[in-house]
């Protein structure tokens, strides 16, 4: 009997030591339901047991942060009594197993996190990392993920307005699907996931509970072998229509002041929501599992506790308000059942079939959860990869460039974003591919707007996790500044291999420290996020891929600028360093075919000046377009400015390239470099302003008709050629 329970615990992902820990906490044998509850609460995905010691490094407070990490989403004030709730989450494992539903429910989950805070979601963005085209599964995964996001987001009436899509063999066996969502809420109407007030009722609302997604969080805390396909039953099935109606009903009971606490049932379902609410509220909770509406017959207590059926919420209301709560949900034809109450016992008590099946202190599941400081070790591969060879190319610059833009990175993501309703809610001021960040107006507090970007760079983080973490924050902030926005907070999604692998743990630690350093250097808080470990298959981890979602505010969103050139004759300037970095660049990966180098952290002082200068200049209307130089380098960036131009304009440049620095100037990346265009005749005055602000700058050319010309190297590529590469299809989409 004893051994059978131990086996059950281990089959649910608990270790032997963890099972011993349960025995010592309870001072008795756990019931099967209790094992389910412990397994759900102590798995990596829910407990953050391997990452928590490092996540403490993040700065989380500024005067604008109203809610920091630990709640369903972070909340930052935008002034005038309003605030933004935002968060990013991963749905990597389910999306690899079943791309359509995995991605769809990823959208559903993050949207619940937002409206749980009382906020109405108004935008979604996705960071997608697929395998290489050579891998047979890539097209299936990419196509399924994109349709899944469209299926869910479109029906919810929340626009999907941006993100990034990458293809690399490092993600052949583990795709990444990171979903970011943001909503707006009145500062005095923010809700929390807490259960308090002895005798208050616990109300279950939304879909019925079924056998889908059982152990989903546990699955997400394991690596894959060859049998990933067999894990399909652990993936949930999404019903966006139900969630849309559920959202309207929840926002309505919140607006009426009937809700004391609310939490969605996401990972680890009913277990996690009850325990976390009790823990945050400093109370106990008693639930009668027989009152949970079920969609399958004969479900056991552990099944009900571990089900991850979607579109379910738990809320706490005063007994006298319950009739009205149930009435609102009836109006929207949504299930609502009182299933328990808040107690003053500080215990989680669950009944099933007249028996008490769970009885343990709340703290045992949360505060006493295991906390690991896993061993880490600098990976051996770095010795080899960090030696940057001197890069020489045999071919001429023009043909090298044409090979470079044959990469997926240059291709239009239009086949993706046209499947997403990116305009509903009539807020989208800068739509996908038109700016370095998406910009949404805030109808509630005009003319303010919010800019948002998602950034990650797996390859560079692989080469140097510390600078990788640092620079991905720096790049996100620069992307915000290029539309004219100043960052008010970031949310991070940390995608890594197994934390039980020492080298992965080292990558994780370094990347987190890099992100934390950058946040402190730039004065930006982390308001929440998500860690996704175990992105590895047969012992091969993905590139360490921290993805940063950054949110910025603009005082007047009609002043925001895009990346596209605007008028013929406008002057084009290069701000910041002339040469970029070749280490880990797209050029050496695609044109030289190596992944080498040791990328450095950006210069904080210059980067800060650049951000301030861009925001000021855009606010004053001095800049007509701005685009930071990232993947692909200067030529690539200029080509993108042309493609995004409404009038189909080109650019004629004389950059003034130093001898021996041709590649670094044209293909080097990062190092706080930005291409801007300014009205004809204002170039010199602008140059002076930039230099006065301590920013190196030079006029490199002017906007012209129909071609990309770099006179220094005799390069001339007609816009038609660029468009032909840009419009090549994306695999699987």
């Amino acid at each position: 009997m004893v051994e059978r329970k131990r086996e059950l615990a281990i089959s649910l992902g608990l270790s032997n030591d963890e099972y011993e820990r349960i025995l010592s906490i309870l001072q008795r044998e756990p019931t099967e339901a209790e094992i389910a509850v412990f397994a759900a609460m102590w798995n990596e995905h829910v407990s953050y047991k391997s990452s928590r010691v490092y996540l403490k490094e993040f700065p989380t407070k500024t005067k604008d942060v109203l809610v920091g990490p630990g709640e369903n989403a972070g909340v930052v004030s935008v002034g005038n009594g309003y605030a933004l709730a935002f968060k990013i989450e991963s749905h990597n494992h389910p999306s690899f197993i079943e791309p359509f539903q995995g991605a769809a429910t990823g959208v559903g989950g993050i949207l619940r996190d937002i409206f749980t805070m009382g906020a109405r979601p108004f935008a979604v963005m996705d960071s997608l990392w697929f395998g290489s085209l050579k891998h047979p599964r890539t097209q299936y995964i990419a196509g399924g993920v994109v349709s899944g996001i469209a299926f869910y987001g479109n029906c919810m009436g929340v626009p999907t307005v941006g993100g990034e899509t990458n293809y690399d063999e490092a993600y052949d066996h583990n795709c990444l699907v990171n979903v970011f969502a943001i909503g707006i809420v009145r500062e005095d109407k923010i809700f929390f996931g807490k259960a308090s007030g002895n005798g208050n009722k616990v109300v279950y609302v939304g879909s019925t509970t079924g056998r889908d997604g059982i152990q989903g969080a546990i699955m997400a805390s394991q690596t894959f072998g060859d049998e990933a396909g067999q894990k399909r039953p652990t993936v949930q099935v999404g019903d966006p229509f139900t969630e849309k109606v559920l959202m309207e009903a929840c926002l309505e009971v919140m607006a009426e002041g009937l809700v004391l606490g609310i939490q969605d049932m996401g990972a680890a379902g009913l277990t996690c929501s009850t325990v976390e609410m009790a823990s945050r509220g400093g109370h106990g909770i008693r639930v009668d599992l027989d009152l949970v509406p079920l969609r399958a017959k004969g479900m056991s207590a552990p099944e009900i506790l571990l089900s991850e059926s979607q579109e379910r919420m738990l809320l706490v209301a005063r007994p006298e308000d319950c009739d009205r709560v149930l009435e609102v949900f009836r109006k929207w034809d949504i299930n609502a059942n009182i299933i328990g109450e808040v107690t003053d016992t500080n215990r989680v008590e669950m009944y099933f079939g007249g028996q008490k099946v769970v009885d343990c202190p709340v703290s045992a599941l949360t505060d006493d959860a295991p906390l690991y400081k896993r061993p880490f070790e600098k990976p051996a591969y770095l010795e080899e990869t960090q030696k940057m060879p001197r890069v020489v190319v045999e071919e001429d610059i023009q043909s090298a460039f044409l090979r470079l833009i044959d990469d997926f990175a240059f291709r239009s993501k239009r086949p993706i974003y046209e499947q997403y309703d990116h305009m509903v809610q009539i807020r989208t001021v800068i739509p996908p591919e038109k700016g370095d960040s998406a910009v949404m107006r805030l109808i509630e507090v005009p003319p303010k707007g919010v800019a948002m970007t998602l950034d990650g760079n797996g390859a560079k983080t692989y080469l140097n996790p510390r600078s990788g973490g640092f620079n991905v924050v720096a790049e996100a902030l620069l992307n915000l500044a290029c539309v004219g926005a100043r960052c008010v907070g970031i949310t991070d999604c940390l995608n890594f291999g197994s934390p039980e692998n020492k080298e992965v743990m080292w990558q994780f630690r370094e990347a987190v420290l890099g992100i934390a350093e950058a946040c402190r250097a730039f004065g930006v808080p982390v308001t929440g996020g998500n860690v996704s470990f175990y992105n590895e298959t047969n012992g091969r981890p993905i590139f360490p891929t921290p993805v940063i979602g950054a949110v910025g505010i603009v005082e007047d969103c009609s002043k925001c600028v895009g990346i596209g050139f605007v008028d013929e004759g406008d002057e084009v300037l290069l701000l910041g360093n002339v040469e970029g970095e070749m280490d880990g660049s797209l050029f050496i990966r695609r044109c030289v075919g190596i992944l080498k180098g040791n990328p450095k952290c950006v210069d904080v002082l210059l980067h800060k000046r650049m951000i301030d200068f861009l925001c000021d200049s855009i606010e004053k209307g001095r800049i007509k377009s701005a685009h930071d130089i990232s993947d692909g380098g200067l030529l690539f960036t200029l080509a993108e400015c042309m493609i995004a131009s409404e009038k189909g304009l080109g650019v004629r440049c004389r950059v003034g390239i130093e001898k021996d620095k041709v590649l670094e100037t044209l293909f080097g990346e990062g190092r706080s470099r930005v291409v801007v265009s300014v009205p004809r005749g204002s170039g010199h005055r602008f140059l002076e302003d930039a230099r006065k602000s301590g920013i190196p700058a030079r006029i490199i050319g002017e906007v012209c008709r129909d071609a990309l010309r770099i006179e220094d190297v005799g390069l001339c590529v007609p816009i038609k050629t660029l468009l032909a590469f840009h419009e090549k299809p994306l695999p699987g989409i």
């Binding site: 009436g157 019903d239 229509f241 034809d333 046209e418 499947q419 509903v424 809610q425 009539i426």
Partner: protein
């Protein structure tokens, strides 16, 4: 003027329409929940875009059985102004306020993009300012998966005879071409009316093109037409 916007479960452009009518055009707006049986006193009913009932079964197929629809149909059949946008258009087809049916887009996918539409008939309450202001081509976005309009040949002929084809997809110069048809719709049809011209269904979203900040104000022209018409200016 008094506008009533019907809210079905899954409507998601209801608030957008209200914003344009209330904040931009300064009109009175009331939301009418689909479970109501009677419309309030109103000058125009709007059936907004969205995914009523999740578009399960077929777009608009379930929404037409909502309690409010009986009164909406009565209102439309007795000459009241009804504007159906996207999902609202699909509901009007299902409720037989308009002829024809929708199929899934030719490419099988949801499509969200700016398109140009040609005003084929400016003699309706919804479009008459287009002639007065010299706007024959409008830039308005679409966002749908089922916008591939179809009607049998005899019905189509009858519609043409009565000037019921109001909008066609076209290029930026107003030429109706195969390439400018985003979804495979019959003869590039983007919007139609009933014979009396008081009920209009269209796939493009005029509420998304009613403020310069969003890139086009052409959609507002249709709402302004309605308002001007209702204020008594003659056709």
């Amino acid at each position: 003027m008094r506008f009533s916007i019907v809210v079905f479960p899954g409507s998601n452009c209801d608030r957008d329409c209200a914003h344009v009518l209330e904040s931009v055009l300064k009109q009175d707006v009331s939301f009418v929940f689909h479970k109501e049986k009677r419309l309030p006193a109103t000058d125009c009913v709007i059936l907004p875009g969205g995914f009523s009932y999740g578009d399960y079964l077929r777009s608009g197929a379930i929404a037409r059985f909502s309690p409010i629809m009986e009164d909406v149909v009565r209102f439309g059949k007795s000459g009241g102004l009804v504007l159906g946008i996207c999902n609202g258009f699909q509901i009007m087809l299902e409720a037989s306020l308009l002829p024809g049916a929708m199929r899934i887009n030719k490419n099988g996918r949801f499509i969200c993009r700016d398109v140009f539409i040609k005003v084929e008939n400016p003699d309706t309450p919804f479009t008459y300012l287009c002639r007065l202001e010299g706007k024959e081509v409008l830039k308005i976005p679409i966002a749908h998966r089922e916008g591939n309009y179809f009607a049998p040949p005899d019905v189509l002929e009858d519609m043409k005879k009565h000037g019921q084809i109001i909008f066609r997809y076209c290029d930026r110069h107003g030429t109706v071409t195969e390439e400018s048809n985003p979804n495979g719709s019959l003869e590039g049809i983007a919007g139609i009316s009933n014979k009396e011209k008081n009920c209009l269904g269209m796939m493009p979203h005029p509420e998304r093109a009613s403020e310069s900040l969003l890139g086009s104000e052409d959609g507002a022209l249709l709402f302004r037409s309605l308002i001007a018409y209702l204020s008594g200016r003659r056709l």
